[in-house]
C-alpha cells in the first residue's frame, strides 16, 4: 500500500494517517451490511409502519385508513385477543420453567462429573432439533389420542386419558412442554457462566460451614445473575415469536378453539391467507412494542438484581 511510509512514524499516528487517506475503505467493508440495513431491515420497517395505517391486499394501492387497524385489533377482534393471551401465557410459563430446568441441570453437570461433555451434548440435542418440523410432527403424534403419551398412561392404569392436542385446556400445555424440552441451549450458556464463578468463593463458604443450599442461593445465583439476565432476554424474545411448532401441531389453524393460535401464527394467517397486509403490519408493530417494553423493563430493573463483577 502506498500510504505506508516506513520512516518510523508512531504506529498510532500512522494508522490515523492511513485512515484519513482511505476514508472510503471502511465503507467498502460495510457495503453489504448497509444495503441490507436499508433495503431489508430499516426500509421495510418504515414501510411496515406506514402499511399499518392502511388497508392493503397486494392488489391495487394501499388505502390510508388512519388508526383503524389498531382500533379494530383491540376492540373488535376476539381472535387477536385470544392470540395475545395464548402467547403471553406461553412466554410467562414456558420461559421461567425452561430456564429453571436449564440452570438446575447445568449446576448438576458443573460438579465435574466424568463424561460431562457427553451429557452436555445429549442434553443439547433437543434444542438443536426442537425447532424442526419433524419434531413438531412427532409432538403431534405423541400427544394425540392414541399417541405415545397415552399408550404409556394406559399402561400405567389411566383408562381414558384425554387427547392432549385436541383439548383446548391442554393443547397449549403440549407446546409449553416442547419449549421446556429445548432447555439445552440456555443450559450451555449457564454452564459457561458457572465455570466463571471463582472457586475460592465456595472454599471460603466451606470454611464458614455453609451448606449446599446456602451456597447455591448466596454464591452461585448472585454470581451468575448476568447470565440469567442474558438468557431470560434471549428466551423471552424468541418465545414471543414462536411459530413453527404451533403451526405444525395445529395444522396451521391455531386450534382447538384458538388455544394454540400463537401471535405469529395469527399474523401469518392475516397476511398470507386473508391478505390483510395492513392489518398484519399493525399486528407486527404491536408485537414489536410489547417486546421492546418487556426488554426495556428487564433492562431498567436489571441494575437492582444483576451483579457485574468488577463492573465489566
Amino acid at each position: 500500500m502506498a500510504a505506508v511510509d516506513q520512516h518510523g512514524a508512531a504506529v498510532g499516528a500512522h494508522r490515523r494517517h492511513a485512515s484519513r487517506r482511505f476514508a472510503y475503505v471502511p465503507w467498502m467493508f460495510l457495503l453489504p451490511w448497509m444495503i441490507g440495513l436499508v433495503g431489508i431491515t430499516l426500509g421495510p420497517m418504515i414501510a411496515s409502519l406506514y402499511l399499518s395505517f392502511t388497508d392493503y391486499s397486494l392488489l391495487g394501492d394501499p388505502h390510508w385508513i388512519g388508526v383503524q387497524n389498531y382500533v379494530e385489533l383491540f376492540t373488535d377482534d376476539p381472535r387477536f385477543l385470544a392470540a395475545a393471551q395464548v402467547t403471553l401465557t406461553y412466554v410467562i410459563i414456558g420461559v421461567p420453567l425452561q430456564l429453571a430446568l436449564a440452570l438446575g441441570i447445568a449446576v448438576i453437570l458443573n460438579r465435574g462429573l466424568a463424561a460431562m461433555s457427553f451429557y452436555r451434548s445429549a442434553y443439547y440435542l433437543p434444542s438443536l432439533l426442537g425447532s424442526s418440523v419433524a419434531v413438531a410432527l412427532l409432538w403431534r403424534q405423541i400427544f394425540g389420542s392414541d399417541g405415545l403419551v397415552n399408550v404409556v398412561l394406559r399402561l400405567l392404569g389411566w383408562a381414558n386419558p384425554p387427547n392432549w392436542i385436541a383439548t383446548p385446556d391442554h393443547a397449549l400445555g403440549t407446546l409449553i412442554a416442547l419449549h421446556v424440552w429445548t432447555f439445552g441451549s440456555p443450559m450451555i450458556i449457564f454452564l459457561a457462566g458457572l465455570r466463571q464463578v471463582p472457586k475460592d468463593l465456595y472454599e471460603a463458604a466451606d470454611v464458614d460451614g455453609a451448606n449446599a443450599w446456602t451456597k447455591f442461593w448466596r454464591i452461585t445465583i448472585p454470581m451468575i445473575t448476568p447470565v440469567i439476565f442474558f438468557n431470560s432476554i434471549l428466551q423471552m424474545i424468541s418465545a414471543f415469536q414462536a411459530f413453527t411448532q404451533a403451526y405444525v401441531v395445529s395444522g396451521g389453524q391455531g386450534g382447538p378453539v384458538n388455544s394454540t393460535l400463537f401471535y405469529s401464527l395469527y399474523l401469518y394467517r392475516q397476511a398470507f391467507l386473508n391478505f390483510h397486509m395492513g392489518y398484519a403490519a399493525a399486528m407486527a408493530w404491536v408485537l414489536f412494542v410489547v417486546i421492546a417494553l418487556f426488554t426495556w423493563l428487564a433492562f431498567s430493573t436489571s441494575g437492582r438484581w444483576v451483579y457485574y463483577e468488577g463492573g465489566q
Binding site: M1, V11, R15, R16, A18, S19, F29, L30, P32, W33, G36, G39, I40, T41, L42, G43, P44, M45, S48, L51, L103, G104, I105, V107, I108, R111, Y119, L125, P126, L128, L129, S132, V133, A134, V135, L137, L138, Q141, G147, L148, V151, K199, E203, N211, A212, K215, F216, I237, Q241, T244, V248, L267, A271, F272, M277, A280, A281, A284, L287, F288
Partner: protein, 294 residues
Amino acid sequence: MATVHTVTPPIRRSGSLSRRRRLGRVWGHVIIIVFGVALLYPLLWMLASSFKPNADIFSEPGLWPKNWTLENYARGWTQLGIPFSTFFLNSFVVAFFSVIGNLFSCSLAAYAFARLRFRLRGLLFAIMISTIMLPFQVVLVPQYILFHTINWTNTYLPLLVPKFLAVDSFFVFLMVQFIRSLPRELDDAATVDGCGPAGVFWWVILPLLRPSLAVTAVFTFIWTWNDFLGPLVYLTDQTKYTVPVALNAFMDSTGATEWGAMFAMSVLSLIPLFIVFLLAQRQLISGIATTGIK
C-alpha cells in the same frame, strides 16, 4: 426445582466428606442418565417407529420393533409425487448458500466495526445491535411485498440474498466481540509490513477468526435447515419445496394417517442436523474455550 438442592456437596478434602461426595456423584450420574433417557426417548421412539408398520406405532411404546419393515421409507420417499431427494437437494442448496452468504457478509461488517474508524461508527454500531432484537414479524410483510413486486417469489432469492447482506446481525456482533479480543499489535505489525485494511482483514483477522466463522457456519446451517416460515411464505411450487415445507405438505396430504412414512421422512430430515452436531462439536467447544480464555 426439586433437583437443585441435592447439588454441590461441600468441596473439602477430608476423608469422611469425600465419601459423601463420591456418593453425591453417583446420584448425580443417576439423575442425569435417567432424566437424559426420558428426554431423548421421544426421538429414539420416532426412529424405532419409522421401522414399524402403522398399526404397531399406536400400540408399541417400546423401542424394539416387533415387525421390522423398511416400507415406510419407500412409501414416504414418493408420497408427494416428487421424490424426497428433490426436497433434500433444495434444502442443501439453500443452506449452503446461506452459510457462504453469512460468512462473507458478516465478517466484512464485523471487521469494519471492530477495527476501522469511520464517521457515525457509534451510531451504526448501536443500530446494528438493536436489529438483533428486531422481531422478524415487523419486516415480514413489507419484505414479502418487496420480493413480490420484483417477482422474486417462488425463487430462493428472498431466502438467500438477505444472507449476503449481513441481515443476521447476531453473527456480526459475535464476530465483532471476537475481533476485539484479538491483540491490535498483530494488525499494527501487518500494517508496518505494508498491509492495507483489506490485507489485514484477509491475512490477519480472517485466519484468527476461524472459531467464530465455524460457529456462524454451524448455526446458519442449522437455522436455515430448520427454517419453515421463509420457505412456507415464499415457495409455492412444490418442486421447489425445502424439506420442512415438504414434511408439512406430507402431513396435509395424508391427514395424520401415514405416521410410519412420515416418521421415516422426519428421521431422514434430522440426519443432516445430527451429522453437523457430531462433526461440529470440536469447533463449538474450542470456540467457547477460546472466548472463555480471553
